[in-house]
């Protein structure tokens, strides 16, 4: 059971506190500040800090720390449905129906259902350009504006692709297990319908390649030579390519010649960022590190939505599917 919650901003001020039981003084956060001081950066702070009488569980989200104070054993990851005085009346709307994710009486003049299939490629590429590990993390986000209580069925051309899937509570698990069909009463508006994971066992084609040649000399800087090129994109162009090169602490500045795009070097975080934009296959951009890119209209795993059927309502909605492939945690080692 969480006793209290403190919210701390990036400059280290406790700017919000909430106590569900007796008040715990905010000085309890000092333990956290100690841990923060010890850690190199905020990411490194251990998620659970043990103090003589309390356990501090810290969560970092968008530069805010949420410190939950517990005194007894808790089941982790599960903040108990705390007896919070949530007075907002929007909470119980869904709670009372059997489709808590959808309110009743939705009306739209234009009935639309859009699906975004987004795939993120997580990859580790080693020095020589060989893929060490590659995984695809995919999401199907939907934006559904449909009148009434529609019952949708989404079928895929190649559902066998799904390795590991997790669903929005609206998806009927049984139907998926037996038929590999997504059958659901959609939530209104935007929501993440499903996320899937295509593991490292299957072969993942990486859409870009990077050749690099980096040498550091002790005095007077080093050399950096990076070439980026597209590969295996089935005719689609790779857009929004960004290279992030975390430099060692000793690097003061970078002076580079680039053939395309623009680069910036942040002397505080020591990150060199090269914004390439679209890769033109004929003329290869020439300039280590993390890569970001987007390939539109292509899901790297080859996932394709087959059709969407609507039951229970009589109108014909507009339907649309968009495929995007993005770089997730894409790393090139040097």
């Amino acid at each position: 059971m969480i006793h209290s919650l403190f919210i701390i901003n990036s400059s280290g001020d406790v700017f919000m506190e909430k106590h569900w039981k007796s008040v715990i003084p905010r000085s309890i956060c000092d333990y956290f500040f100690d841990a923060q001081r010890k850690a190199n950066n905020n990411e490194d702070i251990p998620p659970v800090i043990t103090t003589p009488h309390h356990y501090l569980i810290s969560v970092l989200r968008s530069n805010l720390f949420f410190i939950a104070v517990c005194m007894t054993e808790v089941s982790l990851l599960a903040p108990h449905p705390s007896p919070c005085l949530s007075v907002s009346a929007t909470l119980p709307t869904g709670q009372l129906s059997n489709v808590p994710w959808r309110r009743s009486g939705v009306k739209y003049t234009n009935n639309e259902a859009y699906f975004d299939v987004t795939e993120e490629v997580d990859a580790i590429i080693d020095k020589s350009g060989a893929t060490v590990a590659a995984e695809i993390q995919g999401y199907i986000d939907c934006c559904i504006k449909l009148t009434g209580m529609p019952d949708l069925t989404l079928t895929f051309i190649n559902p066998r692709l799904f390795d590991d899937v997790s669903f929005h509570p609206c998806v009927r698990l049984k139907r998926w297990e037996s038929e590999r069909v997504l059958s659901f009463v959609p939530p209104d508006g935007n929501s993440r319908l499903l996320s899937y994971h295509i593991g490292s066992q299957s072969v993942v084609a990486i859409p870009v390649y990077i050749r690099h040649n980096i040498s550091f000399r002790d005095v007077g800087g080093g050399r950096l030579d990076i070439t980026v090129g597209p590969k295996q994109t089935m005719g689609r162009s790779v857009e929004g390519v960004v290279l992030e090169v975390p430099m060692p602490k000793c690097v003061l500045n970078c002076t580079l010649t680039i053939s395309q795009g623009k680069y910036t070097f942040d002397p505080v975080s020591k990150v060199l960022r090269w914004d390439l934009g679209r890769i033109d296959p004929t003329k290869l951009p020439n300039m280590r590190g993390n890569v970001q890119f987007t390939v539109t209209q292509l899901a790297l795993s080859g996932l394709k939505v087959n059709r969407l059927d609507i039951y229970g309502e009589k109108y014909k909605p507009f339907k649309g599917v968009k495929y995007i492939t993005k770089a997730g945690r894409f790393q090139v080692r040097t």
Partner: protein, 1096 residues
């Protein structure tokens, strides 16, 4: 920690004006800053605002005050001014005052008591939200005086109409318990009641209250165990976590170890793979007893939750499997856990800790996902360390090369801590896997020339450990390291080298004394651990080589004698006494054996996972994560040797959940109809099994349509809970779901069914109409238990229910208000199923036939007992240009209208090209008939079959339904004729009603015939099956053994169809009578049945 709490990412715009503005999002942050400067009478203006009679001002003041509270500033002096406003009519103000009260009531108890009467009034408020809110605040005010009031309020709320209020009551229980543990006994009673609640909203919170107050009263769970298992999927996410944890503990106390009998191993399996196969045969022989079906039930119902998007739920299921599942099934969870690694760093940390702990015992489980544990340079340090731990745990002789290559790249990382951990990991791999020890050792030695000192230091330490476990000498390495002594500054590394030199001084007799000489010079400036090792080295050298080192040794002892550190002084004193015994004590026994003491062979250090000892803690707990016992941690009990009595879990007459139940002594009273039941149980047992399979392989159906049938039968059986005496206990979970399903299952009114809207309409002949509403769920709870019982009992319950109607009326005002609330979703006008029902678009059949049935409350629509698999060809592939169309009667009620018969069309493309756009064109139907077309098929690729379901209202005739099928521009004329038996729908009824109606339908409505039975149809069972194949009817339970009766109605006109078959014992002939007011139907049906029975 995860933020995935709300269902939709976007809050739906609220419809409710009253509650629309969220006070918490108000502007108090900005306005509040101005307040700081004021001091003594700083709150004067706030007080004035609170005293004013304008709601707007009050609200503004309250917002500021709550802002102060949130900032942690003291606002207690405003208490009197604020508490007055608790009576405010404005809901916004009221809510904020509640928030304030919760924070300060404890400090100002006397004043807080003033507000209590307001809460008491609010507890009776018609609005369920206000009732819930008042209860919540009341229970959050930690004032001991109000304990009795809280108790009363909780007891009231426990029987509230609204599940939301009941849920709040469950939340209030632990709070009351914390305030006054004396109330435990009384609270346990409340918990017991709430645990038996059947709404998904409540059970999660009820279990939480149970866990908080009386986790030791495991007996309260017995009766609810199966219900909890079955509801698990539908409970909200946080409830799921709590229930899973509780059930894990429950299973540990109630079931025997599924792994008992198979060998107990802590050993790392892959090593022993070869021997294992041999062992397997043995273990098969002593295979443990089959698992308790309830044990299996839990595992089966928890499994789908692995696909939850909530990390806590996934982790909960993972620990459930780890702790109570048979060893072979645990690996199921690996994949889901690996998926969680993509999420936030906190979740990653927790999941990795659990994986690390699991992987110490089960390498094979995570080995396929090895690559997912590869470290990225962007990971935080503690995540990197955990990943290293997992990788090291997973290392086997087959994958070690991959892992070592990976480790090699890590050494180049700029994160020093991580590099050190990597070198240690290499050391552990090297000592665990013999094949690579030498490679690793040479690799580590080459690291000794690394530029980075910390790398060198760490390597030295690891090499020392490795050398220690190696029996062969490594003279070169030791001398190489001795040379490093001059450069290495890291104390631990220096100490390691010194220890090595001392231990293996016989291998490097020349170098060691020289090093000691150098060290003696720098002794004073060394670190403490190095000094200790210098002492050790000096002692060992003196013992082996006294001639050369005696003086040096004494010098070192003298230096140590005056050291500032008392450890070093003590050590020096001790060893000196051993080595240089003082005058007069030369014959000291210890001194004689000094050599043995110091140069004894030491056992090599065991390098094992630091996660090994975490086993003692339950996974996913805080104690497991911090590897220490947290306050309030309960040990997971070990499995009992003998399973406690499983019968305690039987809910009143659970019928034949398992076949053995029939001869369980706990059901002595078994009336005759019950015996009939056993007959049925044979019949439905395949279904049972397929249910079982469904969770495992999900293939409970051979084709798509089949599954939809079985599902539709599920949903339909929900409706007739009162009458389905022949339905099995496995029906029960569905029924329960339906309770939560609430009133939404009403059939669409627009389709011309006389469904009266209010749920108070209980006095209509059919009792089921009331059961649709949640409000009557309490009575329903009782009914559901009764539902399996024999007919008489049922009638009684009907009567009871009718009796209970007036009570319902008494509460009616309350109920009306409940329903009037804007927040209550109006009855949805589309059929909806809860997600776990699996779906399907087939709604429940009409809960009430449009034409009121003759008296006899037992008459209820039922689901089909038999689903034909025969298909009828509608369009030949030759005439269809590659497209073949066949149809099949699915006997499931059609979505669009209950008057329609569902016909499943299957389209097969036998051609070589895609067929596009299949849809229904113009319809040529006889008057009175109707057809509801299927959703069009856009593309049908070659060699595939797709299904579409059409609904045809045949208007109780056997005239064909003709329509055009448009396929990519071409039209084909299709002609569907339904056999008479398919125009019927089964009805469940009891024998009394059957007889009553049969008498009414005498004369010209009755058709009789005699048929000589074919040899294959002698026994009742095959006869019944024959009739089922022919017509969509349902058998009526019958007291006499030589008559079989069937009930049904026509799909379109809803006219009763009654069939009775007499079976004289020895004769070859059977008399059939069919009663139906539509004579055509009865005569045709008679003909059909006759021919079916004649057939072999």
């Amino acid at each position: 920690m995860s933020t995935g709490g709300s269902y939709s990412n976007e809050r739906p715009p609220t419809v409710d004006v009253d509650y629309a503005a969220d006070p918490a999002s108000g502007s108090f942050f900005s306005t509040e800053f101005k307040k700081c400067s004021l001091d003594d009478n700083k709150h004067e203006d706030l007080k004035q605002m609170l005293d004013s009679n304008k709601d707007g001002l009050k609200l503004e003041a309250m917002k500021r005050i709550i802002g102060m509270v949130a900032k942690g500033r003291d606002a207690s002096e405003l208490f009197p001014a604020v508490v007055k406003n608790v009576v405010s009519a404005n809901l916004e103000v009221k809510k904020l005052v509640y928030v304030y009260l919760v924070r300060y009531a404890e400090e100002q108890q006397d004043l807080a008591l003033l507000s209590i009467s307001t809460f008491q009034r609010a507890l009776k408020d018609p609005n369920q939200l206000i009732r819930a809110c008042a209860l919540r605040v009341l229970s959050s005010i930690r004032v001991p005086v109000i304990v009795p009031i809280m108790m009363l309020a909780i007891k009231d709320a426990m029987t509230d109409m609204s599940p939301y209020v009941r849920k709040t009551a469950a939340h209030a229980i632990p709070k009351l318990y914390n305030l006054d543990p004396e109330q435990k006994e009384e609270l346990i009673q409340v918990i017991e009641k709430l645990l038996s609640d059947k709404t998904t909203l409540v059970v999660g919170s009820a279990v939480m209250a149970f866990e908080e107050v009386c986790p030791e009263r495991i007996d309260l769970i017995h009766k609810n165990y199966r219900k909890l298992c079955n509801l698990l999927v539908d409970v909200e996410e946080w409830g799921q976590v709590i229930i899973i944890n509780m059930l894990t503990r429950y299973a540990r106390t109630q079931f025997v170890d599924p792994n008992a009998g198979s060998e107990d191993d802590d050993r790392e399996r892959p090593f022993y793979e070869d021997d294992e196969e041999i062992e397997d045969d043995e273990t098969l022989a002593k295979r443990p007893k089959p698992m308790d079906p309830d044990h299996r039930l839990l595992l089966r119902n928890a499994k789908p939750l692995l696909q939850s998007r909530n990390a806590a739920v996934v982790l909960g299921v993972a620990q459930l499997y780890q702790h109570i599942a048979p060893r072979t099934e645990v690996s199921l969870v690996a994949r889901a856990l690996v998926r969680l690694l993509r999420s936030h760093r906190e979740i990653q940390a927790v999941v990795l800790t659990n994986i690390a702990s699991m992987s110490t015992r089960r390498k094979d489980m995570f080995e396929p996902y090895l690559k997912s544990f590869f470290v990225r340079s962007s990971d935080p340090t503690h995540i990197k360390a955990l990943k290293l731990e997992v990788l090291t745990n997973l290392a086997t002789d087959t994958n070690i090369s991959v892992i070592l290559r990976e480790f090699q790249t890590y050494i180049g990382s700029s994160d020093k801590e991580f590099v050190a951990a990597t070198i240690q990991a290499i050391g552990r791999c090297a000592s665990n896997i013999r094949e690579v020890t030498d490679t690793c050792l040479s690799g580590l030695v080459s690291l000794l020339s690394n530029r980075d000192e910390s790398v060198v230091g760490e390597s030295v330490v690891v090499i020392r450990k490795l050398l220690q476990s190696e029996t062969v000498g490594h003279k070169d390495i030791i001398s190489h390291m001795a040379r490093l002594m001059d450069n290495i500054k890291i104390p631990m590394a220096r100490a390691s080298i010194l220890w090595l030199l001392g231990e293996y001084c016989d291998k490097v007799p020349k170098i060691a004394p020289d090093v000691l000489r150098k060290m003696a010079k720098t002794f004073i400036s060394e670190d403490d651990i190095v000094k200790l090792q210098i002492l050790t080295l000096a002692t060992k050298l003196y013992l082996t080589n006294p001639k050369q080192t005696r003086l040096l040794c004494q010098y070192v002892y003298n230096l140590a004698k005056y050291d500032t550190n008392y450890d070093i002084r003590d050590r020096a004193r001790l060893t000196r006494a051993l080595v240089f015994p003082s005058q007069g004590h030369e014959d000291n026994k210890l001194a004689k054996h000094a050599k043995k003491i110091f140069l004894a062979t030491k056992p090599p250090p065991v390098q094992q996972s630091s996660f090994k000892d975490r086993d003692q803690f339950q996974l996913s707990t805080l104690s497991h994560l911090i590897n220490a016992r947290a306050t309030g941690y309960q040990d997971l009990p070990p499995f009992p040797e003998e399973a406690p009595d499983p019968t305690v879990r039987y809910v009143e007459l659970p019928a034949s959940f398992t076949p053995e139940n029939h001869h369980k002594p706990s059901h002595p009273k078994k009336s005759k109809p019950q015996k009939m039941k056993s007959f049925y149980s044979d019949e439905s047992s395949p279904e049972d099994e397929s249910e079982d399979d469904a969770s495992d392989s999900s293939s409970d159906s051979d084709s798509d349509s089949d599954s939809s049938d079985s599902d539709s039968s599920e949903s339909s059986s929900d409706e007739d809970n009162e009458s389905d005496s022949e339905e099995e206990e496995e029906e029960e979970p569905r029924f329960k779901r339906k309770v939560s399903g609430g009133s939404s299952k009403k059939r669409p009114e627009k389709h011309g069914v006389s469904q009266s809207s209010g749920s108070e309409d209980t006095d209509s002949s059919s009792s089921s109409s009331s059961s649709g509403s949640e409000s009557s769920s309490d009575e329903e709870a009782e009914n559901s238990e009764d539902s399996d019982e024999d007919v008489k009992k049922k009638k009684k319950s009907d009567r009871e229910q009718r009796n209970s109607v007036p009570q319902g009326r008494g509460n009616r005002s309350n109920l009306d208000l409940l329903l009037d609330l804007d927040d209550t979703p109006p009855a949805m006008d589309t059929p909806l199923l809860t997600p776990s029902l699996g779906g399907l678009l087939t709604p429940s059949p009409s809960s009430q036939p449009s034409q009121p049935l003759p008296p006899g409350a037992s008459i209820q629509p039922a689901s089909a007992k038999f689903v034909p698999t025969v298909t009828q060809e509608l369009l030949n592939r030759i005439s269809g240009g590659g497209l073949a169309v066949a149809c099949r009667f699915t006997r499931s009620p059609h979505l669009y209208s209950p008057r329609m018969t569902s016909v499943e069309l299957s389209f097969t493309n036998n051609g070589s090209e895609e067929i596009r756009d299949i849809s229904v064109g113009s319809k040529k139907l006889a008057p009175g008939m109707a057809l509801h077309e299927f959703a069009g098929i856009a593309v049908l690729s070659p060699d595939t079959t797709l299904n579409g379901t059409i609904g045809v209202d045949f208007n109780d005739t056997t005239q064909p339904a003709m329509f055009d099928l448009v396929v990519g521009g071409r039209t084909f004329s299709i002609n569907i004729t339904a056999p008479i038996g398919e125009l019927l729908m089964p009805l469940a009824m009891n024998e009394g009603d059957f007889n009553l109606n049969q008498i009414k339908l005498r004369g010209m409505n009755e058709q009789c015939g005699v048929v000589s039975l074919s040899s294959g149809n002698k026994d009742i069972k095959s006869l019944v099956n024959r009739v089922y194949e022919t017509a969509n009817l349902l058998q009526v339970q019958c007291s006499s053994n030589d008559i079989v009766k069937f009930g049904g109605q026509t799909a379109s006109g809803k006219a009763l169809v009654l069939v009775s078959l007499s079976l004289p014992q020895d004769e070859q002939e059977s008399t059939i009578s069919v009663n139906c007011e539509k004579m055509v139907i009865s005569s045709m049906l008679l003909k059909e049945i006759k021919s079916a029975l004649k057939r072999d």
